[in-house]
């Protein structure tokens, strides 16, 4: 690995000051399960690595009536070992439990998954359908942006070099709502998604009608894709297989996958259709509780 310096700021303001000075020379280190591996193969060559984990705000999370305020460096394992989080956000836990195996999950953060901006990042479709907001801070203060506006290209986010992700804020689940994330991989565990889908739904009180829905796709475009039209068309529709099929076809239509060693365009589009139906059915089941 190339040589670099290491900083351990213990407050957000110290970290912001370091980034303001160093800009693109600095990189935040959360769990390092993307960054350190990328540095080892020369994909990233920061002159300064800034540990995010000594900053209390980034290592904490708070679950209350407003939802989940998730510090960007909180690990996947921390989340799924908290039964209150598991109960409130099963789709988020489905993502957290899929990111690598135990050794990876003990270090890997949801914030790192988002900032790594991989098209296949397994938490990103889930965050999008949960309506999460990214709280970003830099020398000019704090700004909130919708999670679907964070990833702009493979490995690239809309954060400036001198900004860092503070928290990911996920609203409290609405009444009669449910969400689900699923991915397809050839193995049972420890692989990169060939395609993935997250769906969330809000149903009418009697469970017969979709009030709203959100659908997001992974590994079928340069970034995770918010299939907004596919979710929106469900609003007002009856909860049945015909509605679900219509949404799945609309989701498939906005997938723009590539052929690579993991899968073909044809397979990926087919998978989006199947996974959209499966995640919608499961989200409906959860909404009916």
């Amino acid at each position: 690995m190339h040589s670099f310096d290491f900083a351990t700021p213990t407050s957000v303001s110290d970290a912001v000051a370091i980034l303001a000075k160093e800009g693109s020379n600095a990189r935040l280190l959360a769990g390092g399960t993307d960054l350190l591996i990328g540095m080892r193969v020369g994909r990233a060559t920061p002159g300064l690595v800034v540990d995010a984990k000594q900053i209390p705000e980034l290592k904490q999370y708070k679950l209350d009536g407003n939802g989940l305020q998730l510090g960007s460096a909180v690990t996947c394992r921390t989340l799924y070992e908290d039964s209150a989080v598991v109960d409130a956000y099963p789709a988020l836990i489905e993502s957290a439990e899929l990111i690598g195996g135990m050794q990876t999950q003990g270090r890997a953060s949801i914030g790192g998954n988002l900032c790594n901006a991989a098209p296949s990042g397994d938490s990103i479709p889930t965050l999008i359908v949960l309506g999460a907001e990214a709280v970003v801070i830099g020398p000019n203060g704090q700004r909130n942006l919708a999670v679907e506006d964070v990833c702009v290209a493979p490995g690239k986010t809309s954060l400036a070099d001198n900004e860092l992700l503070l928290t990911i804020n996920i609203p409290a689940p609405a009444a009669n709502s449910g969400a689900c994330f699923q991915r397809f991989i050839p193995r049972n565990e420890m692989d990169i998604a060939i395609a993935s889908v997250a769906s969330s739904v809000v149903l009418s009180g009697d469970g017969s009608t979709f009030e709203s829905a959100r659908i997001a796709l992974g590994a079928v475009g340069p970034t995770p894709i918010f299939a907004q039209g596919a979710g929106d068309l469900l609003a007002g529709k009856p909860v049945n297989e015909a509605s679900i099929q219509e949404a799945a076809d609309a989701a498939e239509a906005v997938a723009t996958p590539i052929n690579d060693m993991r899968g073909t365009i044809e397979q990926r589009k087919h998978l989006i259709n199947v996974l959209t139906k499966r995640t919608l059915r499961e989200a409906v089941a959860r909404a009916k509780g």
Binding site: M1, H2, S3, F4, D5, F6, L29, G31, G32, T33, L36, I37, M39, R40, V49, D51, K53, T75, R77, G100, G101, M102, Q103, T104, G106, R107, N188, E189, M190
Partner: protein, 158 residues
């Protein structure tokens, strides 16, 4: 790039070392502290040969910087046996031939120890999922699973 002075606890002993920030915890354990029980396999987080317990959590030490260990506790395979006896997992791996070439074994032992700490009586499926981040190039998985089950039974009785 100046070296950083790091004080950490490894298997209960306080140790100090000087590390370049670019050295992984794995490199520091092996090259600076001469604890070569922890193995290097893939060096990219997939194989689990370098598994250690870091600050109470199972991790791949190739994905941790040595300088991150400052003020933390590290547990490696060298800390499992006592002078008098092997750890029940080590004993069971021996008895069940839970190893062939042995390179993956320290990682499997550490991961299995953490598994039994959190699930003292795991099902076969739970064992296989927990150990999914540990690869055995000789593919001796069945024997490894049997060894973990045997150790779990022995530890339950104790």
């Amino acid at each position: 790039m100046s070296k950083v002075h790091v004080t950490t606890t490894v298997n209960g002993d306080e140790v100090e070392f000087l590390a370049e920030p670019r050295q992984s915890l794995l490199e520091v354990l092996r090259d600076e502290l001469k604890l070569t029980g922890t193995k290097e396999g893939c060096n990219d987080g997939n194989c689990g040969a370098c598994s250690v317990v870091f600050d109470g959590t199972l991790v791949a030490s190739c994905c941790v910087l040595g300088v991150e260990a400052d003020g933390k506790k590290v547990e490696t395979v060298e800390g499992m046996a006592t002078p008098d006896a092997l750890h029940p997992l080590q004993q069971a791996f021996l008895e069940e031939t839970g190893m062939q070439c042995g390179i993956c074994t320290p990682g499997f032992l550490i991961s299995s120890k953490e598994l039994l700490k959190s699930k003292p009586n795991p099902s076969e499926e739970e064992i296989r999922f927990w150990l999914a981040n540990n690869l055995c190039r000789c593919t001796g998985y069945d024997k490894i699973v049997k060894a973990v089950q045997k150790a779990a039974a022995v530890m339950e009785e104790a």
